[in-house]
């Protein structure tokens, strides 16, 4: 008797409750309530747009030298010219155009570096977490050694060996950021390994590969997505630092860091040559950090009410 009334009340309760949100809707609900994260997302979309359509957006070619317009100040200042909105550099190249083409490079390096370290990191982390024992110890020792070095120093060491170029810099950055992904994946894999669904799959007869990639990996993705977003910001920052030190992109390439290095000698005469490339780096890095923080809040179940 009492059981029947209980079922009827639960039934009415479920029928009046609003439809449950799909995981994606739930995610968007939490993400969009964080204003900083949305701002970051908007900035990232704009920068990606600039990067993809650089040929159409940029008013000039990044390498065209206007010999009659050397070190022209930004348009709103005295002596400025509206065809060079942010002014020109010491050989008469349009700074705005170089910044727009530079975003292409930064985003590309970010994508390459993050993808490479993500793939390698997931692979090593899954292996370490799944097999444990000697393999795990060996992988984690190497990771500890890499973590003992500051990432920029290690990247500099790698570029010093391979020679300065943008490809080597991207390679160095992806090696340097590897340890974080390995650790995250390993920790998440170990936590998932003890769950019942993994045991059940094992009992049914799933092989190690299926267990690792089909069962466990999808459940480890949340922290990895957050780390990948934050990895973008450190990849862009490290890339710019390497470029600034002359170890990344080489001078004619419109890369933000090497643009700054070129401009060093004009600090006193032309502030705009120095200010804008750095501002672009700061805005881009800040946007990725904001979005990463927002993603963490939205994906971490512990922080939800």
């Amino acid at each position: 008797m009492s059981t029947s009334t209980e079922t009827s009340t639960t039934q009415t309760a479920t029928s009046t409750a609003p439809a449950p949100m799909t995981p994606l809707q739930e995610f968007w609900h939490y993400f969009s309530s964080n204003r900083g994260a949305v701002a970051g997302l908007v900035v990232i979309v704009i920068i990606c747009f600039m990067a993809i359509f650089a040929n159409f957006v940029a008013p000039h070619s990044p390498s065209d030298q206007y010999r009659d317009a050397l070190l022209l100040p930004p348009a709103w200042l005295e002596g400025g010219n509206w065809s060079f909105v942010l002014g020109t550099d010491d050989v008469g190249r349009d700074i705005l155009s170089r910044l727009i083409y530079g975003s292409r490079l930064s985003i590309a390096v970010g994508i390459v570096a993050v993808t490479a370290s993500l793939v390698m990191g997931i692979l090593l982390g899954l292996i370490a977490g799944y097999f444990k024992g000697m393999i795990d110890t060996a992988i984690m020792r190497i990771v500890d050694i890499m973590l003992a070095m500051p990432s920029l120093l290690l990247a500099i060491a790698i570029v010093a060996i391979l020679g300065p170029s943008i490809v080597n810099a991207a390679l160095a950055i992806s090696i340097v950021s590897l340890p974080h992904y390995v650790r995250l994946t390993r920790a998440a894999t170990m936590a998932e390994m003890s769950r019942d669904y993994v045991t059940s799959s094992k009992v049914i007869g799933a092989g190690p590969l299926r267990l690792m990639f089909v069962c466990i990996l999808p459940n480890c993705l949340a922290p990895l997505i957050v780390q990948a977003t934050l990895g973008f910001s450190s990849a862009i920052l490290d890339m710019a630092a390497l470029g600034f030190l002359g170890l990344g992109a080489q001078p004619p390439t419109p890369e933000w860091g090497s643009m700054l290095a070129d401009a060093l000698q004009f600090v006193q005469r032309a502030w705009w040559v120095v200010t804008f490339p750095g501002l672009m780096i700061l805005i881009t890095v800040l946007a990725f950090n904001l979005m990463g923080d927002g993603l963490r809040d939205a994906l971490d179940p512990k922080l939800k009410q």
């Binding site: 900083g36 020792r141 190497i142 500890d144 050694i145 003992a148 070095m149 500051p150 990432s151 920029l152 120093l153 500099i156 060491a157 010093a160 060996i161 020679g163 910001s233 920052l237 710019a240 630092a241 600034f244 030190l245 002359g246 170890l247 860091g257 700054l260 060093l264 600090v267 006193q268 502030w271 120095v274 200010t275 490339p277 750095g278 501002l279 780096i281 700061l282 890095v285 800040l286 950090n289 904001l290 923080d293």
Partner: protein, 336 residues
């Protein structure tokens, strides 16, 4: 306790060996023959090549070379610079005080600003103060410090003329090298105004180098304080009628500081790698600038030795932080 320290120490040894292996491989990974790379454009004759090869031990099997390298490193022998012919260790020791001086001042700046800002943000949670502290710290955290250095230099040195542009002290002063620390040496010297000059040279580099650690410390202090402030004992203390500032400073801060201290210890790596960029911009004669210049000059023994020393310093500092943490927090000490 000793068991805990011993366990941590035993973890350091494989890490150290791994780093020596890394720096050892580094010089052998350079494309081409190491002796020809060292000889540069001049090139070497076949006899000289064999002679050098024997002298540097390149004719031995790799494991013998590695054994020799590690035993050399353990005795403080990191080889000689190809350019100056000086031992790498000696060059490092003359330049290191400059970096320590800069890093210490940067750390003091970061703690003096970051800690109060974090506490303030936590206490005023959700207000405009909190939001602005968090915005500033996220901006600082995202800062390309080489650009930040140029920007500050542009405003304060070039436009306002308040601080000097680069170096450790004005060229008019000739300071005897007693300790290697310019602040101390200039105080010890009788020259008038030398100390003020040394201080004014330190201000901008310290701010630049301290910016990222400051942001990290502020964020960590805030979240750690927020966690502690929501604990029951804080509510009890408030209910007992203890003055609000006393609850925050005496009751909450002491517990909140434990993770913050760890984070401060971990900033050493950030400070040392940030020093590479900061020293390059401000022409600060420390190990960061030395390393970058050596890479440019292809002075491989210096690069190899410099990276090894910096990595070892970081390992030692992390070890000390770990042990301090174990002393402060028994839960860490007794966990496996």
């Amino acid at each position: 306790m000793f068991q805990f320290i011993f366990r941590r120490l035993s973890l350091v040894i494989p890490t150290f060996l791994g780093i020596t292996l890394l720096t050892f491989t580094l010089i052998r990974l350079i494309p081409g023959d190491p002796i020809e790379v060292m000889a540069g454009e001049r090139g070497v004759s076949a006899e000289r090549h064999a002679e050098l090869s024997a002298q540097l031990g390149f004719d031995q099997p790799l494991y013998v070379q590695y054994y020799r390298y590690v035993s050399g490193v353990l005795q403080g022998d990191l080889g000689n610079s190809l350019i100056t012919r000086e031992p790498v260790m000696k060059e490092f020791l003359t330049l290191f005080p400059a970096t320590i001086e800069l890093a210490t001042c940067a750390a003091i700046f970061a703690i003096l600003i970051g800690l109060p800002a974090g506490i303030f943000a936590a206490v005023k949670r959700g207000t405009i103060v909190d939001h602005s502290v968090m915005t500033f710290s996220l901006t600082g955290y995202s800062m390309p410090i080489f650009w930040w250095a140029l920007l500050l230099m542009l405003v304060f040195s070039v436009n306002l003329g308040w601080t000097p542009v680069s170096g450790r002290i004005d060229v008019v002063y000739w300071i005897d090298d007693v300790t290697g620390f310019m602040l101390i040496d200039s105080l010890l010297s009788d020259e008038e105004g030398a100390f003020t000059s040394a201080v004014s040279h330190l201000i901008l580099p310290s701010i630049v180098l301290g910016t990222i650690p400051m942001a990290v410390i502020a964020r960590m202090t805030r979240s750690s304080m927020l966690e502690v402030l929501s604990e029951d004992y804080i509510r009890t203390a408030r209910a007992k009628g203890i003055a609000p500032w006393r609850v925050i400073v005496i009751h909450a801060l002491r517990n909140a500081l434990i993770p913050v201290i760890t984070v401060i210890g971990l900033q050493v790596g950030i400070l040392l790698s940030g020093a590479i960029l900061t020293e390059t911009v401000f022409a600060w004669p420390g190990i960061g600038k030395w390393l970058i210049e050596s890479i440019g000059r292809r002075d491989y023994p210096v690069v190899q030795g410099g990276i090894l020393i910096v990595a070892c310093i970081i390992i030692v500092v992390n070890l000390l932080v770990d042990i301090t943490y174990g002393i402060v927090n028994p839960r860490i000490r007794h966990s496996r």
